[in-house]
């Protein structure tokens, strides 16, 4: 188990040993410093995600976005941070102060912890857990918990309602998300995320495009972004679970949301688009970081694209979409692909066969949906015709 074993960390731990530390303590201390560096870099990145998000939305809405402070408005997010830090922290009356303060920390933590298992390049990955995929799900559970804590401790009806609706959506969409993650697990034969990336000599988007689609949809709901951002339904719920938060605590919720989107862009890249794989990675392992970041940014941009293109969906439609379509669909897909995989594994037609199975599966699904829609339409039209006939006589 190597944790960031590279010349820099070797040099640091060597230095620490020469200062009289035991090798094990030096190793742990080096790892601690590495984690500190990684998380600091991620936090700085997060600050610029705010800028990027505002620029992207501005372009989608035919505006300019922040452009006053510094070149292209690049200093704007720093000004925002300073504003958030010096803003007054208000505890609403009757709030449960400890839980109220813990919730934003837990929220941010639930996103930062995801970076522990993200493989950034062949030689640069946090921890290669053999239960990586389930680890993502478990860390997501902490985020759910943070939302409940925020909503409950604020002592506000709207916060509680928003939190409950958001949690209902998050837990519902967790099922198709986990099931769609099980498909790369089956294809790679391991739950370790680095192992999954290594197994993608053909990207899994070719072998399981439908799983990628399910993962994309459920990840959007899991992050609570449009079109699934029920918690921010301003007109009904004001702002969901973080109504009563102000200053830096609100900032943490906001930053966690953006970073969550970015991180999930990274996971889509790692699970379905080959992660750090790309040309010349074998010669220059650090090049993997570049490929990974490019893929992640494309994923992030797609999330933004969806967010600013689609209108918000009503909660009952959303839950219907999940329980009546995505859950049966993803389980059926899992069963079908597992079967095809064990049937075709090792043969020459494996890649082609898997791709065609996906196409056939998607086609059958569309046909079933079309038939149902037709039935529904004829039912509605029949009823309307009956009403019209009744009016005429």
């Amino acid at each position: 188990m190597d944790f960031w074993r590279n010349p820099v960390t070797d040099w640091v731990s060597g230095l620490l040993v020469s200062w009289g530390l035991s090798p094990e303590a030096a190793h742990v201390l080096t790892a601690f410093l590495a984690v500190l560096v990684l998380i600091s870099v991620v936090m700085v990145l997060d600050i610029f995600l705010v800028w990027m998000e505002r620029k992207i939305v501005a372009r989608f809405q035919d505006r300019l976005g922040p452009n006053r402070l510094g070149p292209f408005g690049l200093i704007q997010p720093i000004a925002d941070i300073i504003k958030l830090i010096v803003k007054e922290n208000i505890y609403p009356r009757g709030a449960d102060k400890v839980v109220y303060d813990l919730a934003p920390v837990l929220m941010m933590m639930s996103v930062l912890l995801l970076w522990a298992v993200l493989p950034l390049s062949p030689i640069l990955f946090g921890v290669d857990l053999n239960v990586g995929v389930l680890y993502i799900v478990g860390v997501g559970a902490l985020g759910t918990l943070a939302i409940i804590m925020a909503g409950w401790s604020s002592n506000n009806k709207y916060a509680l309602l928003g939190a409950f609706r958001q949690v209902a959506v998050m837990i519902s969409y967790e099922i198709p998300m986990v099931v769609s993650l099980m498909i790369p697990t089956i294809l790679a034969g391991t739950m370790g995320i680095n192992g999954i990336v290594q197994a993608q000599s053909t990207w899994f988007i070719v072998l399981a495009p439908l799983a990628c689609l399910v993962f994309l949809i459920s990840a959007l709901a899991e992050m609570g972004r449009a079109p699934f951002d029920l918690t921010e339904a301003e007109s009904e719920l004001i702002a969901g679970h973080h109504i009563e938060y102000s200053g830096m605590k609100f900032g943490l919720f906001y930053a966690a949301e953006l970073l969550h989107a970015f991180t999930f862009g990274g996971f889509i890249a790692a699970f379905f688009f080959g992660g750090w794989r790309g040309p010349w990675v074998d010669q220059y392992p650090m090049l993997g970081l570049l490929w990974f970041l490019v893929k992640t940014l494309i994923g992030y941009w797609v999330f933004g694209w969806i967010r600013y293109t689609l209108p918000r969906i009503r909660i009952d439609k959303m839950l219907d979409l999940n329980w009546k379509f995505l859950v049966p669909f993803s389980f059926a897909l899992l069963m079908f692909l597992a079967f095809m995989h064990s049937l075709l594994r090792g043969t020459e037609v494996y890649v082609l066969g898997m791709f065609l199975s996906n196409v056939v599966f998607g086609w059958v699904t569309v046909e079933i949906l079309r038939r149902q829609a037709r039935q529904e339409r004829s039912r509605v039209e029949g009823a309307r015709a009956a009403v019209n006939a009744g009016q005429k006589t």
């Binding site: 742990v28 984690v35 998380i39 936090m43 958030l84 830090i85 010096v86 803003k87 922290n89 208000i90 505890y91 609403p92 009356r93 009757g94 303060d101 934003p104 920390v105 941010m108 933590m109 930062l112 912890l113 522990a116 921890v127 290669d128 239960v131 389930l134 680890y135 002592n155 506000n156 009806k157 709207y158 509680l160 837990i171 967790e174 099922i175 099980m182 697990t185 089956i186 391991t190 739950m191 004001i238 200053g247 830096m248 605590k249 943490l252 909660i315 009952d316 839950l319 219907d320 329980w323 009546k324 859950v327 049966p328 389980f331 069963m335 597992a338 079967f339 995989h341 064990s342 594994r345």
Partner: protein, 118 residues
């Protein structure tokens, strides 16, 4: 010392420290001038009526319940998914039976109209 979870522990510590530091710095720097109006519950300017409490409908519980059952099912399925390559077609069929049994429960709840939000 060969346990890789120690690094996850480090992430846990640092991941908690940095947001906590942000909150603490902000608490030190920010002004503290609280008053009755500021502390009051935010309800778009309307006075809060009654307790800050609403009766929830049981539907939330139904969804959480179906989720719980499927979550546990997933826990059983992940080892199956990992071991799939080592074992034969028989294992795949076992997993299919396992999923099929639980999908029957989902279809039951669906047909009885228990998955409707309203």
């Amino acid at each position: 010392m060969q346990n890789e979870w120690i690094y996850i522990g480090l992430f846990l510590v640092v991941g908690a420290l940095i947001p906590a530091a942000a909150i603490i710095v902000s608490a030190v720097l920010s002004p503290r001038k609280s008053n009755q109006i500021k502390e009051s519950t935010y309800e778009c300017g309307v006075e809060t009526v009654g307790e800050n409490w609403v009766q929830f409908k049981a539907q939330y519980y139904i969804f959480a319940l179906v989720f719980l059952v499927f979550d546990v099912e997933v826990v059983f399925l992940f080892p199956w998914a990992v071991a799939l390559n080592q074992l034969g077609v028989f294992v795949v069929v076992e997993g299919l039976i396992f999923i099929g049994i639980l999908l029957a429960g989902l279809i039951y709840a669906w047909r009885k109209g228990m998955l409707e939000w309203v």
